[in-house]
């Protein structure tokens, strides 16, 4: 996908939730990336670093929580992980399954340094 614009959206959300003066206190931004979200974690990490370079968010890292694609079969109540994106129940073959996780693309939280301590750089 286009991880650069996704990274920009993350920066926008961080800036909208933080006074500008606190931007340099951001240690990390926790992101949930579902397996079926279409976003490549490594690319996103790279792009975030690239667009925050030279800004007050420079040095902040992304804490990426990869969320597997997990479904539950409503017919036999089996829960299963589907790496390939196939939603049929592997136990009973049923098609009536519900997605429990794996499509997320979410900013979960921002972790800040204690402002009385020196922020790490680099």
């Amino acid at each position: 996908m286009h991880e650069l614009s996704i990274a920009q959206s993350i920066v926008d959300i961080v800036q909208a939730n933080l006074p500008a003066s606190d931007a340099n206190l951001v240690k990390s931004v926790k992101i949930k990336i579902g397996q079926l979200s279409g976003v490549v974690p490594d690319s996103l990490d790279f792009c975030f670093g690239a667009i925050t370079h030279g800004t007050s968010l420079q040095g902040a890292t992304l804490d990426l929580e990869k969320v597997p694609f997990i479904l539950k079969c409503r017919t036999c109540t089996t829960s299963f992980e589907s790496e390939a994106g196939i939603v049929l129940c592997p136990k009973c073959g049923g098609t009536d399954t519900e997605v429990l996780s794996g499509t997320e693309l979410q900013v979960v939280e921002i972790e800040l340094y204690d402002e009385h301590l020196e922020k790490k750089t680099g």
């Binding site: 996908m1 286009h2 996704i6 959206s9 993350i10 926008d12 959300i13 939730n17 933080l18 240690k27 992101i31 079926l36 979200s37 279409g38 390939a84 994106g85 196939i86 939603v87 049929l88 098609t95 009536d96 997605v99 499509t103 693309l105 979410q106 900013v107 979960v108 939280e109 921002i110 972790e111 800040l112 340094y113 204690d114």
Partner: protein, 226 residues
């Protein structure tokens, strides 16, 4: 160390604009489909066939999305329907904001069906809600029967699959039953049509279904963008 809880979707800005588009479509009573596929699967040809078949039966408008040129808008304009072209100049998908901008110059009064033909791309458009009632994915027989397995997100997020270029089957190794089976493994609730723009086969069935959706006043939230 302190933590600020956010819990917001990364694409929330797009989702909010899509929601506003959707409200406008509902107010205008316009049924909207987002037509997606790989480049070259026959989206524009299928659209031409649809416009020709439904001429005089449905009031239709079109939004075209392409990286460059308005060639597709020119093709569609020959059918005497309101059409607007979005040129992304490199953007690989349409976003709700681009659609909202173009709606200012497209009169939807009386329009029963709006077709948004997305940029040819089977990856990126799957994540971007434009405010449509549903995504219609076109997969042509020349692309192989394993296509749904290779692009699960797009087939999951679509409500309809149109298998196009049926006329080429005799010259290909594509197993159409395998293609359908693979698609339904990714999304069991897909409605499937088989078409050939060359021969016209399948076009009446697809158009009849469209007319049915329009008369139902069918306007749903995108099924899998959660």
């Amino acid at each position: 160390m302190s933590v600020i809880t956010i819990e917001r979707k990364v694409l929330e800005k797009n989702d909010e604009l899509a929601r506003r588009n959707r409200e406008l479509f509902a107010k205008q009573r316009t049924f909207v489909i987002n037509l997606v596929s790989s480049p070259g699967s026959g989206k524009t040809s299928l659209l031409e066939k649809t416009l020709g078949y439904l001429k005089g039966k449905l009031k239709i408008a079109v939004i075209e999305g392409d990286v460059q040129t308005d060639l597709d808008a020119q093709r569609v304009a020959r059918f005497d329907v309101p059409v607007a072209q979005i040129v992304t100049n490199g953007g690989c998908h349409l976003e709700a904001r681009l659609v909202a901008d173009v709606l200012d110059r497209l009169d939807l009064a009386g329009v029963e069906l709006l077709v948004i033909e997305n940029v040819g791309n089977l990856v990126c458009p799957s994540n971007y809600d434009l405010g449509e009632a549903m995504k219609v994915v076109v997969a042509s027989t020349t692309e192989g029967d394993d296509k749904p397995l290779k692009y699960p997100a797009m087939f999951r997020n679509a409500s309809v699959l149109i298998i196009n270029k049926l006329d080429l089957l005799p010259y290909l190794d594509c197993d159409i039953n395998a293609l359908k089976r693979n698609a339904l493994q990714i999304n069991p609730s897909l409605t499937v049509f088989e078409t050939s723009c060359r021969s016209g086969s399948g076009i009446p069935e697809w158009c009849a279904w469209l007319q049915q959706q329009v008369s139902k006043g069918y306007n749903v939230k995108p099924s899998t963008l959660t």
